[in-house]
Amino acid sequence: MARLKVPVATSDHVLGTDSAAVMLVEYGDYQCSHCAAAQLPVKQILLRYGGRIGLVFRHFPLTEVHPMAGLAAETAEFAGGYGRFWNMHDAIFANQSRLSPSLLVTLASALELSPRALHEALASGLHARKVQADFLGGVRSGVNGTPTFFVNGVRHDGGYSVPELASSVGNAMLATAT
């Protein structure tokens, strides 16, 4: 059974309560179609277990097959520096089919973030190290593709439909209640 080797830390982006009974950690790639498809079921899981679950998203860009995935991840991190990680995360997935450097600038502007600051952050690779650290932590934890989910540190080996995710989350809820 694969386990999460890098515990949730302050450097992570958490949606929901960070003291929740269950932490769902997702490793994803902004250019992976399965990750985009997992967006809705993940949101439904957060609603269903509202207040008792937190979501962490970590980057796992396969840049050789997804050339925009690295820049997109760094752009989300850039937005995270201004408290808008999840807005950018959602905007990138919503526009997945037309990702480009200029689209990332447009998305940043729409979130009232400075295009110039984004350009500088991307050009200097300001957030590249964080993205790479996420990726390597995922590799060491047994992430073998995207999306990969960990529920309270244990890899969820099923699909990402609501019933499949709910099964793992429900079991983790029960385990923490006893």
């Binding site: 992976c32 840049t63 050789e64 097959v65 590799v139 060491r140 073998n144 593709g145």
Partner: protein, 158 residues
């Protein structure tokens, strides 16, 4: 599932096409750590499949003094097209003729389907297998086991 060669066994030699006009002998790469990744077939439909992952983890293998080779029963031309399409930066070996002969030597051939197992081998400088793992055929084994095995080996040069 086949019974694959285990740690401590000498890695069987091979002479396989690595491109349509290049042949690679295991003996030629002695003195270097090698990861052999047997897999069933090129053109896996899964997003972020095994070879794409190893492609991305390549610097980690290299920084540990190891080279990785993918190996399947697909022919050299098929490998070439697959590697180009997926931008693979490591070689794919064609265990094509006699079909699956090397996979058989490593205990990693599936007679029923006529393809390689999804089996991993880490081979040291002296051609001894130091770690091996056979994954269920439908499960991508990831790279964590390989990196753990490389990290458990003495530092290169010692």
């Amino acid at each position: 599932m086949s019974t694959i060669l285990r740690a401590g066994t000498r890695a069987p030699g091979f002479k396989l096409h690595v491109t349509p006009d290049q042949v690679l002998l295991l003996d030629e790469i002695q003195g270097k750590r090698i990861v052999l990744a047997f897999y069933p077939a090129d053109w896996s439909p899964v997003c972020g499949d095994q070879m794409a992952l190893y492609n991305q983890v390549l610097p980690e293998f290299r920084s540990r003094g190891a080279g990785i080779f993918g190996i399947s029963v697909d022919g050299a031309w098929c490998h070439q097209a697959f590697a180009q399409a997926r931008h693979l930066h490591f070689p794919l070996l064609a265990d094509f003729e006699p079909k699956g002969e090397v996979a058989r030597a490593y205990g990693a051939y599936r007679e029923s389907e006529g393809v390689c197992e999804r089996a991993l081998f880490v081979i040291d400088e002296k051609r001894a297998i130091t770690w091996s793992y056979c994954s269920p055929i439908a499960v991508n084994p990831g790279a964590d086991g390989i990196l753990d095995a490389l990290d458990a080996m003495p530092k290169t040069g010692e």
